[in-house]
């Protein structure tokens, strides 16, 4: 079921469901592509997120009602001729250690887990990208195993170093640049996700997958990691 609402004088929001569901990102991502291809003359931008797709369009060329009707038409004939993008998996090396995992020691105590078990749980699954936002290249990944879920910090940190890997409730993510934030930090990657490398803009896409793997303290330091 779809529901289209207005999101401003030149934008609509399409809901594909009302609950977070692992089957939605792919549907939304595929429809976003179909929309960009079929209505390329009027679609300006798309923002997929969890259950919805935000679409901004050129009001010089098409009215709200006409655009609404076109999108509804496409939604109704979807599935059959959607351009399906292949999902890609990005592998992220992470050093899980107390020097860089600012909350790791506390989390292990709270969860009554040893480090190896904790790391196994975090690295064992492929995470689905549900949304990109908060800042560029910041991908919201889910769902985190219940055994390592943890609420956001009551007081966000002023500065979290670039590459920090965090957990907030059922989500995990990597901070692409130094920023403030309230996620529990469990490790750090040396992978540069900043926009200093402009190609990073396409690093993550909604419905793609991310898998973490552990590197040792020695490997982390050998590759230029700071503690």
């Amino acid at each position: 079921m779809h529901n289209i609402i207005s999101a401003g004088e030149s934008a609509i929001l399409i809901y594909f469901g009302d609950k977070i569901d692992a089957s939605l990102p792919e549907k939304i991502g595929n429809f976003a592509n179909q929309l960009k291809n079929t209505l390329s003359d009027v679609v300006i931008d798309v923002i997929p997120s969890y259950t919805s797709l935000h679409v901004s369009y050129d009001l010089n060329k098409i009215s709200f009602q006409a655009f609404f009707d076109k999108v509804e038409g496409l939604l109704n004939q979807q599935d059959s001729n959607g351009l399906v993008l292949e999902s890609k998996t990005t592998h992220i090396p992470v050093y899980y250690g107390n020097e860089v995992g600012l909350d790791l020691e506390r989390l292990l105590a709270e969860k009554n887990l040893d480090l190896n078990t904790y790391v196994d749980i975090h690295t064992s699954q492929e995470y689905l990208i549900y949304a990109i936002g908060f800042s560029p290249v910041f991908a919201f990944l889910g769902e985190v195993d219940e055994r390592i879920q943890a609420p956001r910090l009551a007081t966000p940190r002023i500065k979290i170093p670039a590459g920090s890997v965090g957990i907030a409730e059922s989500q995990t993510a990597i901070y692409p640049t130094d920023s403030s934030g309230g996620w529990n930090i469990i490790g750090r990657t040396l992978l540069d996700l900043s926009l200093d490398n402009p190609d990073n803009i396409d690093k993550f896409r909604v419905s793609d997958k991310v898998k973490f793997y552990a590197v040792t303290r020695d490997e982390y330091i050998k590759n230029g990691g700071e503690l």
Binding site: S6, A7, D45, I47, T51, S52, D58, S135, L195, I201
Partner: protein, 302 residues
Amino acid sequence: MSFKVIKSSFLSTVQDYGRLTHGEHGMSQSGVMDEHAYAWANHLLDNHFNKAAVEITFGGLQLESQVDTFIAVTGADLDFRINDKSAQMWHGLQIHKGDVLSWGNPKSGVRAYLAVKGGFDAPVLFDSRSINLRENIGAKLAQGDELSCRSFDTATYRFIPSKYIPNYNQDITLRLLPTYQFNEFSVNQRDLFFNQNYTITNANDRTGCRLSGAPIAIKKERMISEGISYGSVEIATDGLPIILLKDAPSIGGYPKIGTVFSLDLAKLAQRQPNTKLRFELMNMHEAQKKRKKFNEFFEISF
């Protein structure tokens, strides 16, 4: 050829119409806060609508021209001077090598726009010349920076009828489209929202404008994050509105009562803290008609 920054200020940045096609990549729209003043600055010089200009917030900037060219300054009255003599705003002006342009304390409004004939040749980052400090895209102007541009010895000016020069000292009413979760707010909640004078607070920057007033009691505090349009009005956990502006994140998880008509956001960009503000409803047809007319006049097209 360029303008050189002799004295930097609180916040002056290069901006163009915005970074419109990268919401998908988690990027803000960015771009000028006052589309009206910016559009006029380029229009007066017969520039393409998307030419980069300098957005000067609260004054304090000094530039030295190292080029013969033409400029136009619009927006806030920040005591604009050329060679320390009061200079005309909302008008094309010829500038010579060695001229010093300066902006002092705000007399009215918040943001002035400096456009140069042909536009400032700042780096294009992700399809736009707009600086976004929150996203670490570019930096604000600092002493010694040079703003490249071309030289011109002739120009044709356009003129602005004086009735189009806004008065930035008036309280404002923002026209709001009923979008997003509008229908999920009760009649009582909406009544409280539309029937009060809010006040613009100091928490008011390129990311958003927080208002103070009587809070709306809300049940649903957070929701699943969704794509945000420029001008959307979030009702935060404390029951007070935040109007999301050009540098706001691309997605967010607070309920939104509607979206402010874009040309009213240009007026908001010039209001100082403590200005009174009201909302009134606007319909989609009217908003699109007015915005289309504006786009046609300034030849804004994508």
